[in-house]
Amino acid sequence: MNQFLTFVKKEFYHVFRDRKTLLLLFGMPIAQIILFGFALTNEIKNSNIVVCDYAKDAASQRIIEKLEASSSFDIEMTAMTPSQIEAAFQEGKAKLAIVIPANFNNDLLHFNKAQIQIIADASDPNLANTLTNYASNIIRGYQQELQQNASLTFRINSEVRMIYNPELKGATNFVPGVMALVLLLVCVLMTSVSIVKEKETGTMEVLLVSPFNPVLAIIAKTVPYFLLSIINLTLILILSVSFMDMPLNGSILLLYLASSLLIITALSLGLLISNSTSSQQEAMLISLMGMLVPTMMFTGFLFPLENMPWPLQAVANIVPSKWYYIVVKGIMIKGLGFSAVWRELLILSGMTCVLLFISFKKFKTRLA
C-alpha cells in the first residue's frame, strides 16, 4: 500500500509541475462552459436579411415593422435584382431576401390575394429553413391581423407548456454534454500519453523489472487524473449552476458516482490505447484526432441522435459519453433516481470491464 502511495505521489508531481498541461486540464472545461453557456447557441439570431420593398405601402411597412421586431433578423432595406441578391449571398452579406412586389396593399384590398417571395441562401439548409419559417410565420401573423376582422369561428386554442426547461435555456442541453466530453476526452488523452511516454523513454522497463507490481504502477498513473477530473466536474457544476441556472434536481451523490464511473471508463480506454501504441505521437493522434470529432457528434448534445442513420446510431452506442449524457440529464434536469438510470450505468460498467480485460491481456502477452 505504501508503495502504491509512493507511486501516486510521484505521478502527482509530474502532473502539477507541468503548467501547460494544467492549462488544458482546467482551462478547457472552463472555456467550454463559458463558450457553450454564453456564446454557442442553436438559436438563430441576428441573421442578415435583405428586404426588397417594391410596394412601399402601408401593408409592406407593417410587415417590415414586424420583421424588424424579431431578434432573428438584422434587416437591410435595399431593392435588389436577382443577380444582386445572388452576389449578396456569395459574399456572405445576406442569408435571406424577401421581395414584396409593387401594389402589394392594393392587391390585398381589392383581390384579397397578394404574393411575397422569400429567397433563401440554402447553402446552410437548416438556417434557410428556419429563417424561411420565421419569416413566413411573421407574414402569416400579419395575415391573421387582417383576418381579425373576419369572423373567427371554430377556434382551436392550444395551450403549450415547456417542461423541464421552461425558459428554453441552452445550458440544460449543453452542460451535461460538456461534462461528458471533457471528462471522457481529457482522461483518455492524458492517460494514454503519459503511460506511453514511460514506454518511449524507457522508464517503463525499469518499472517492469522492479519488485513492484507493474499493474499498481499503472493504476497509480491514473489516480491523479481521476482526482483532477472530479475537481473539474465540481468546477463545471459550480459554474453552470451559479451562472447559467443549470438545474440540479437529483441526488448529487448519484451524480458523482455516475461521473466517477465515466472517468474510470475513460481511464480504461486511455490504458487500452497506451497498450496499443508505441509513441506519444501515435497515442495523441488516436486520442485527439481520432476521438474529438466523433465524441462531439455521438454524445448526442450537438446533433440529435435519432436523426442519424441507424448504423451510426449503433456506433454511438459504443461511445461511453452517450450513456453518461443520458444519465446526467436524467439526474440533473429531471431529478430522477438510481432506478431510472441503472441500465445506462450498467452499460458503462460493462464497457469498463471489457476495456480493462483487453488491456490486461495485451499487457500480459507483452510480458510473456
Partner: protein
C-alpha cells in the same frame, strides 16, 4: 538554399518512414469525413409525440392523422391518461405530448371553441421551439380545414391571403451534407496540420536532435521552412483527398466556384495554421505540453468557427473571438466557394485576414525560436 534541400530531404524521409503515423494522418480524416457528415444533421425530424386522446371522436382521429401525415412526427404512444404519457418524458421516449380533451368534437361544434393541451420536453430548447412550432402550424391548418367545412366557401376568398413563394438557392434539395462536408473537411485538415507540426518540432526538442541543428550554421529561417513545407504538402494532400475522394465520389459535392480560388486560400490558410503549430512548439518543451496547448486551442477554434453553430447568433464579445480564429475564415470561404461559387473579389476580406494571420504567426514563431538561448 542548399541547406533547405537537405533539410527537406531529411524531413520527408523521416515522415514517410513512419508508416503508422502516416497512415493515421491520412486514414483518420478520411474515415471521419466519410462518417461524420452522415451524423451531423440539425434538421428536426422524427419528433416523438405521445397522444392522449380522451375524446376518441372522428375529429380527434382526423387531427392525429394529420399530425402523423406531416412527416415531422413519430407517434410513440397512444393512451388516454396524461400521467402515463408523462412517463414517456422521463424515459426520453417522447418529445411532445398532446392531450385532446373529452368532448373535443362536441364542444367544438357546439361552442365554437376548444382547447388542446401540449406539453413539450424543453431540455433541448431548439427542438422544443421547432417541434411546438410545427405542431402549432398543423393545428392551425386543421383549424382552417374545420372552418372551411362549416362555413360556406365564398366566391372569392373572404379573407385576405398572402401567398408566400419560397425559393431555395444553391442547395434546392436542402441537402445538409452539402453544408457539413466542407466544414468538417476543414476541421480535419486543421487538426492534422497543427498537431503534427507542433509535435514534430517538440519531439526533436525532447530527443535532443534540435540541439544538433542549433549548433550548425543552418539559418533558423531555413530550419523553420524545412519544418513547414512537408506539413504544408501533407495538408494539401489530405484536403485534396477529402475534396475529390470523399466529397465528390461519396457525397457528389462538386465545387461551384473556382478550384484555383479554393486552393489559393488553402495554401495561405495552411501557412497560417502551421505557423500556429510552430508557435506552440517554441513555447513547449515536451510533447505532452505541446499537445495540451494544441488541444486547448483546437477545441476553441472548432467550437467558435461556425461549424456547428452560427457565428451570427453569438454575442459581440464572442464574435470578436471568432474573428481571431483562422478556422472561421476558412470554413466561411470553403462554403462560399464550393456551395455558392464565390469569386476571389467577393472574399477579399477573408483573404486579407488570413494572409495577415499567416504573416503574424510565422513571424512571431521565427522571432521566438532561438538557436542561442
Amino acid at each position: 538554399m542548399r541547406t533547405l534541400k537537405y533539410l527537406l530531404r531529411k524531413e520527408f524521409r523521416q515522415i514517410f518512414r513512419n508508416t503508422t503515423i502516416l497512415r493515421m494522418i491520412i486514414a483518420m480524416p478520411i474515415i471521419q469525413l466519410l462518417v461524420m457528415p452522415l451524423a451531423a444533421d440539425f434538421e428536426i425530424k422524427n419528433i416523438n409525440i405521445a397522444v392522449v386522446d380522451q375524446d376518441k371522436s372522428s375529429y380527434s382521429r382526423h387531427l392525429i392523422d394529420k399530425i402523423i401525415a406531416s412527416g415531422y412526427f413519430k407517434l410513440t404512444d397512444y393512451s388516454d391518461s396524461y400521467y402515463n404519457s408523462f412517463k414517456q418524458f422521463e424515459k426520453d421516449k417522447a418529445d411532445l405530448i398532446i392531450e385532446i380533451p373529452t368532448r373535443f368534437e362536441a364542444d367544438l361544434i357546439r361552442n365554437n371553441t376548444n382547447n388542446l393541451f401540449v406539453a413539450v420536453n424543453a431540455i433541448n430548447g431548439t427542438k422544443a421551439t421547432v417541434g411546438s412550432a410545427y405542431l402549432n402550424n398543423i393545428i392551425s391548418d386543421y383549424n382552417g380545414e374545420v372552418r372551411l367545412k362549416w362555413n360556406t366557401p365564398a366566391r372569392f376568398s373572404a379573407t385576405p391571403t398572402i401567398e408566400i413563394t419560397s425559393l431555395n438557392w444553391f442547395n434546392p434539395f436542402l441537402n445538409y451534407q452539402f453544408y457539413m462536408v466542407p466544414g468538417i473537411l476543414v476541421v480535419l485538415v486543421t487538426m492534422v496540420g497543427a498537431y503534427m507540426c507542433a509535435l514534430n518540432i517538440v519531439k526533436e526538442k525532447e530527443v535532443g536532435t534540435i540541439e544538433q541543428i542549433n549548433v550548425t550554421p543552418v539559418r533558423k529561417v531555413y530550419f523553420i521552412l524545412g519544418k513547414l513545407i512537408p506539413f504544408w504538402v501533407i495538408g494539401m494532400f489530405v484536403f485534396s483527398l477529402g475534396l475529390f475522394g470523399v466529397a465528390r465520389l461519396v457525397y457528389q459535392i462538386v465545387p461551384l466556384g473556382s478550384l484555383f480560388t479554393l486552393y489559393l486560400f488553402l495554401s495561405i490558410y495552411l501557412i497560417a495554421l502551421l505557423g500556429i503549430g510552430l508557435l506552440i512548439s517554441t513555447y513547449s518543451s515536451n510533447q505532452q505540453q505541446a499537445m495540451s496547448v494544441a488541444f486547448f486551442f483546437m477545441m476553441i477554434f472548432m467550437l467558435m468557427s461556425g461549424l456547428f453553430t452560427s457565428v451570427d447568433s453569438m454575442p459581440q464579445w464572442a464574435k470578436w473571438i471568432a474573428a481571431c480564429n483562422p478556422v472561421t475564415y476558412f470554413i466561411d470561404v470553403v462554403r462560399l466557394v464550393i456551395l455558392k461559387g464565390s469569386a476571389v473579389s467577393q472574399i477579399k476580406t477573408q483573404f486579407l485576414v488570413i494572409s495577415g494571420m499567416a504573416i503574424f504567426f510565422n513571424t512571431w514563431a521565427i522571432l521566438n525560436y532561438r538557436k542561442t538561448t
